[in-house]
């Protein structure tokens, strides 16, 4: 496979996923719940006891710890989640859905399901969706051990002859 074909293929993956996800989340945003709030609510809704350690939530949402803290602050102010330390280990902080959070999560989850039927299953049939899911599972398994490096590791690896142009967009979510 040529470099060009490889780049084009991955660009299509980026555009296909991003466009579809935007379209699906738009159905939820119309109710006033931001898309990334929904992703957090939905994850908690599908978890036993509707709660997860903050660190786990950050990882599953592909967010930085700082970004998630800000997001959780806002969601807590709206009364959608509670944060409390684990009784067994005070260092672990959990985010848990409140009653109101469960209600909002359920309402938006219904919209999400019908949007997925329309914008994903309406485009791909069941067989193609199964093949897409299989390929994505292969990617997940291939990278299971590749945890994102820490800030310190990035700093060491960076080519010092180049200026640091990084902008930490995700932390301002």
């Amino acid at each position: 496979m040529t470099d060009e074909d490889l780049i084009t293929s991955w660009s299509l993956v980026v555009e296909g996923f991003t466009r579809t996800q935007d379209r699906v989340l738009r159905a939820i945003e119309e109710t006033g719940v931001p898309g990334h709030w929904f992703e957090a609510l939905h994850l908690l809704l599908r978890t036993e006891n509707h709660r997860l350690p903050m660190s786990r939530l950050a990882r599953d949402l592909s967010m930085t710890g700082g970004g998630l803290t800000k997001l959780a602050d806002r969601m807590a102010r709206e009364g959608l989640i509670d944060r409390r330390s684990a009784e067994a280990d005070r260092r672990i902080v959990y985010a848990a859905l409140t009653e109101k959070g469960i209600e909002v999560a359920r309402t938006t989850a219904r919209l999400y399901r019908s949007a997925l039927r329309e914008h994903v299953l309406g485009v791909l049939d069941q067989q193609r969706l199964a093949e897409l899911t299989r390929l994505m599972r292969v990617l997940i398994e291939a990278h299971a051990s590749a945890m994102p490096p820490t800030e310190e590791q990035i700093a060491i690896q960076r080519d010092p002859s180049l200026p640091d142009r990084r902008v930490r967009d995700r932390t301002s979510v």
């Binding site: 496979m1 470099d3 490889l6 780049i7 084009t8 293929s9 991955w10 299509l12 993956v13 555009e15 296909g16 996923f17 991003t18 466009r19 579809t20 996800q21 935007d22 379209r23 699906v24 599908r46 599953d60 592909s62 999400y112 399901r113 997925l116 914008h119 994903v120 299953l121 485009v123 791909l124 049939d125 069941q126 969706l129 199964a130 093949e131 897409l132 899911t133 390929l135 994505m136 599972r137 292969v138 990617l139 997940i140 291939a142 990278h143 590749a146 490096p149 590791q153 990035i154 690896q157 960076r158 080519d159 180049l162 200026p163 640091d164 142009r165 990084r166 902008v167 930490r168 967009d169």
Partner: protein, 161 residues
């Protein structure tokens, strides 16, 4: 709830969750690879990559904003910072003064080419090695169909034809 296609709501949600996780995790590792070597944030790299592949390394601003799916306000700020860093310049269109183009500077081309080389080697190591060529071709075909169905821009293109 089951529909005639035979896929339950839970199965559908689970499938899309796998797609989301697989995409986001891989994309963030690919971004970290380029960032680690060049100190280039993923949003910057995305803009450089698109311009590098565009004819004469230039594109209308609103078209790039649309491609990288950012709001025009958010994209204006990003473009401002990249202009300040000497990677891009703004140029007016020769036929329509209302349209502003973004163009790579020489420095922009140089950085974009280095980033591209890094991106290719990380795609080979992380995606091609895992999926094989057949897998990537299938993935890209499916994602192209999703993009065409769910993007207003690509729908307009299809309507014109």
């Amino acid at each position: 709830v089951t529909d005639p296609s035979g896929l339950s709501d839970d199965e559908l949600v689970e499938s899309w969750a796998v797609v989301t996780q697989g995409f986001q995790h891989t994309q963030s590792l690919l971004g970290l690879d380029v960032d680690a070597v060049l100190g280039l944030a993923p949003s910057w790299f995305e803009v450089l990559l698109r311009l590098l592949r565009a004819p004469e390394h230039r594109m209308p601003m609103n078209r790039i904003a649309d491609d990288v799916t950012m709001t025009s306000g958010g994209f204006t700020k990003l473009a401002d910072r990249m202009v300040e860093a000497g990677l891009l310049r703004r140029t007016p269109s020769t036929n329509d003064r209302r349209v502003t183009y973004l163009e790579l500077t020489d420095e922009g081309v140089r950085v974009a080419e280095r980033a591209m080389a890094e991106h290719v080697s990380s795609l080979r190591a992380r995606v091609l090695a895992a999926l094989s060529e057949e897998g990537i071709v299938s993935l890209a075909k499916t994602m192209r169909d999703l993009r065409n169905a769910n993007s207003a821009y690509h729908q307009r293109l299809a309507d014109k034809q």
